[in-house]
Amino acid sequence: MTCLDHKHILQIDNLSVSFTQYERGLRQIDLKVIHNLNVSVHEGELVAVVGASGSGKSLLAHSILGILPPNCNASGNIIFDGELLDAARIRQLRGKEIVLVPQSVSYLDPLQKVGLQVRKGRNDKHIRRKQEELFSLYDLPEDTGGLYPFELSGGMTRRVLLSEAMMGNPRLIIADEPTPGLHLEAAQNAMSHFRQFADQGQGVLLITHDIDLALKVADRIAVFYAGTTVEEALVTDFQSIDTLRHPYTKALWRALPQNGFHPFPGNQPYVKDMPKGCPFGPRCHQFTPECEEDIPEHIIRCGTVRCIHAE
């Protein structure tokens, strides 16, 4: 997909997720919240997924781990270490090869001590030791393992979730907004751990809405808009607006403080009134009638883009 010659750890092709919903209890409608989404992670790579709230970032993570809500349909190819995964294989891999750092602190069982949760209910000596090591790595007080989630601060909970991911020997870490609630130092600490992990030849998929953060640690950035990837670019492409490919990415770039802080008015379309063709069409200054047709993915300068006007 890109010109990188590294081996793929994760490759997602044509992922679609849709919900069956009832409009005011009467009509059944199909809400396509993710459509034709592609993204990939190579060996030794930290890929950041950025996108506005509601663009489908968490659902992407949940699809890879097979924990989508039961009232939705999902299809697509998930290829992990060269192997096409199905639901059963995902169940075998998750928690071992692929681990998740979940988005919200509600992902901890309120009635179980956090130490036990991090250890997945196991109490062997060496697992206990590993957990304690990780807790101290993340600056958590020694007795944290014996506390219940309600007794932790938001930042502590984040760090517990981070240590959880490091418990095993995963091949791929999917971190869904792991930094909110962490003070700067702890956030940087977490990011450097991810970086080290990737540098050992593994992969990290970092989901965030913080482009600045992504630019600091990631190798590549996948930009989400309304349920699809509009562009996958190298971090270095962000040094200048000219090396970026998609008008939405360019708009994001201009909104960055160091690039003049030009806010981009408007919002991504709500899933129910998705425009035809390119979802960005209605907000795009390059919009032409052809944009209302199906937009294929192009490869330009080692990055992918879904825009017929990209060059």
Binding site: H62, L100, L111
Partner: protein, 335 residues
Amino acid sequence: MNTRLYSKFYKYVGQSFVKAILLLLAVSILSFTLVSLSPVDPIRSYVGEVGMANLNETNLAKLEAHFGLDTPPVERYWNWLTDFIQGDMGTSLIYRQPVADVISVKFMNSFLLMITAWTCSGIIGFILGTIAGLYRGRWIDKLIKGYSLLLASTPTFWLALIFLMVFSVELKIFPIGLSVPIGVAAAEVTVLDSLRHLILPALTLSAVGVANIALHTREKMIDVMEEDYVLFARARGESQLSIVKQHALRNIALPAMTLQFASLSEIFGGSILVEQVFSYPGLGQAAVSAGLDGDIPLLLGIAVISAALVFTGNLIANILYGVIDPRIRRGSVHG
């Protein structure tokens, strides 16, 4: 550090206790007001129609004084309450015995019946509800849900009648009526005999009780299985069995327990009907007789005792909740 946390916990228990006592006091006032409003004349109930006609002035006045009809209601309530606290609940008009004695005998009978039904319906209902919630939408869920919806709409006394017809009249497995065979002195009643008389009423009460518990547990189970922490446990690779054991059961245990203790009130209501059908000499049957025959002291006594039972149930549930739920035990919420 723990002393402070525990003192908070004791405060929580203490508050629950005070609240229960206040409510109980209010129940006694409400019940007393209701029975005092009644046009049923206690003297007429006591002496009967014939006795009424033969009653002369002085005796009437005596009886009026005995029933306290010549004192104002507030004073009458106060007298009743102070007596009640000292263990004197008055004299039952129909049994011609102290109400306290009547209630303690009947209560033991009812208690056996209720505790059996309560335990059975609680355990079975919990298991069924858990299974149904776990296998939502499958045939086993449909079966359990169908049973529960049907039983929740079934009149308890009608089910009792059906059981009576099937098991006692047709199959002759169980006796018709009376928890003790007629003509057998209480001392000679074997444990087996009482058991035989207990089974059908307990079965009826349990069958009905299961429905409600199962439906509620099922809903809770479905909710819990969709919680984020269950999702995350899945993402961590925990097996379904481990998720149920480690997370789901733990999290539905609390609401299930509250539900279980709250069902005491319903079980009591059901026992009134069931006891009537099976002529089981318990508190419920006594309540009906007291209501029909105008036995005010007995009715009042039963009302207060049954409310005490309900509030004790709630209190125990609250305390257990505090013991089990770390959020209360370690004193964070519910100041």
